[in-house]
Subunit: 137 residues, 6 copies
């Protein structure tokens, strides 16, 4: 059967600051500038989850996109949406919530619940002008 | 001369929470739900500033959009971008930073620096799905 | 209090054909061309519902957008989404489901459940290139 | 019958420079900056033509959008697309092709061929960040 | 010469239902839900056709995009646009017109008319939130 | 550390004509049609620069996007924006400024200033409907 990639869009709105807890505030400000504002700022994160696998001969599906939508909700949106990423998401307690790291954490969380036969890629927009892609390792 | 409306887009990224300081935390949560998270969340606000006036016969301009771009930067972006609206913007010390109120404040700030001969309209996107328009009073 | 317009986006996917039941098939094809295909075609309709009213001093809201989202779901999405507009939506039993008429029907359905103090405007995209606006009468 | 506005999108790609022939080159550069480059620059202009009128009871149309598409092609796209607006479009021989003036010329050209019973509005994007609206005088 | 990928966008509007003819109606509804509505629903499909090849030293082209536009029209748009995919497109007589399968069929149809020296990728949006990519086997 | 791709969007507006100086005007017109208009036409070019590398453990960055923004400005926008590509950009003195060639030139200019440890990909939109991707050789 042909191998096709299916993509599903989602979104979450969150506050964060760029912050390395091993550094002084001055050093954080020097490296991250206004993105390190201790009072936080925020973004509308737009997420694309992409799965590659064989088309099922019976359903014509690679993966049921309704199930994928629900997985994204329980694993990612419920965890990140309307949250302060630094204060309320355990993965970022000691990890700077840069868009790169948020994409890696998103990948790791979804990789655990999506069967290994599917390749997984995460695309994450922090703004319409800045975004990242991550496919594991 | 013909009257034309010119529109200029801009954007700022900010943290906020919906919060009425006259209410208890419970009442705030009851009315605003997760939008009232005391740790804040945030958005990429997309702004459109619209000015209506006569086309100048010499320049073909209603308003120099380079000057408008600079006004938006000094009056709005410098005040709101990468800020916590509740904590760091004086207009929201006692005013809930709902997207409606942010649009009204944006209008009021720009109205002071744009000549009265121009009609002014503010369009403000809190997310791609929720946005508001305000033209004064 | 300032009068602000709040906009909420939604969407539904439906099949339809342009068809005047008082005309012969030949006349329908002559006027509507391939849009009158008796086997139907379809669209992703993108809807913007706009309400104008005063900002509430306590909440900073013109209208609770969560409530509006739910109203759009029960009144419009549940009625139109994944439906054949000609066959399954009673308003179009004798009314051609042109994008103009779908917007008027959408307006009429929402006008009944939204308090009269709010002005209501419907914007409906049939495709990214063809869309309509309707504000009543 | 209800009055509805129908919108049709189109586009053209053209070269231009901002230039007032009554001024010296220095004065043009002082007012228009790099937009006055004598070797020209260019844009993908995105156009929305909006007509307001009554919905026809037989067709459900305000205006046949296929006819409107053809009118936009013969009146606007054939005149402006892949052209140098300053050198090749007679309306701009003595008129600065600012986005405001291009919108007014577009309005005037379409106004002549669209029946008076329809209100006409032109929206013209010079870039995704700068655009104008014109509805006649 | 450098190898570059050129992308061309197109679109078609069609009705379909998800349906496996080997299953009962109940089984189809159980698997596909409202997407299996026997009266059909529909979509604005947005298509991106991507060809990778060497840049021609004389023309600066990988592939003449005007020719590609015409190929997409004759092979895909004329076959799918304003059609009922289940009833009127022979490839889907026994094949479920899921977005995955439509992309595979689109690939197969274009692969026959595009020279083998070009790599071919199909991206197909069923909605702005659900889309697929296919590059052959 | 994980390897992530970071993407940054930018844009420039320029005039050009498709033109092979080794050919007669007739031959140029035969091959390039209206795109070869000797008076030029123009586009809003939308650029995406993509860098792939390891996430830095201290900063959470693959590459400082503020620095990338500045590099795109000095290397690409300052060179191409509001310019006539054929007349004013030395790389196109003898090279046809097709969107393919502009992407290759953009890649070559950025490749010189971005460290070799990063993979580089250029995506360049000539219009919303025509775009190219180039990753070197």
């Amino acid at each position: 059967m042909p191998r096709v990639t299916v993509h599903r869009k989602a979104h979450f709105n969150a506050a964060h600051r760029l912050f390395n807890p091993k550094w002084t505030d001055d050093k954080n400000f020097e490296v991250f500038g206004k993105c390190s504002n201790p009072n936080y700022h925020g973004h509308n994160y737009e997420l694309i989850v992409s799965l590659t696998g064989e088309v099922d001969a019976e359903t014509g599906y690679v993966y049921d996109l309704g199930i994928l939508k629900d997985l994204i909700k329980t694993e990612i949106e419920d965890a990140f949406d309307h949250k302060n990423l630094n204060l309320e998401v355990e993965e970022f307690e000691k990890l700077n919530p840069s868009v790169e790291n948020i994409a890696v954490v998103t990948y790791d969380k979804l990789r655990k619940v999506i069967e290994k036969e599917y390749d997984l890629t995460i695309t994450l927009y922090e703004t319409p002008r800045n975004f990242v892609t991550y496919s594991g390792s």
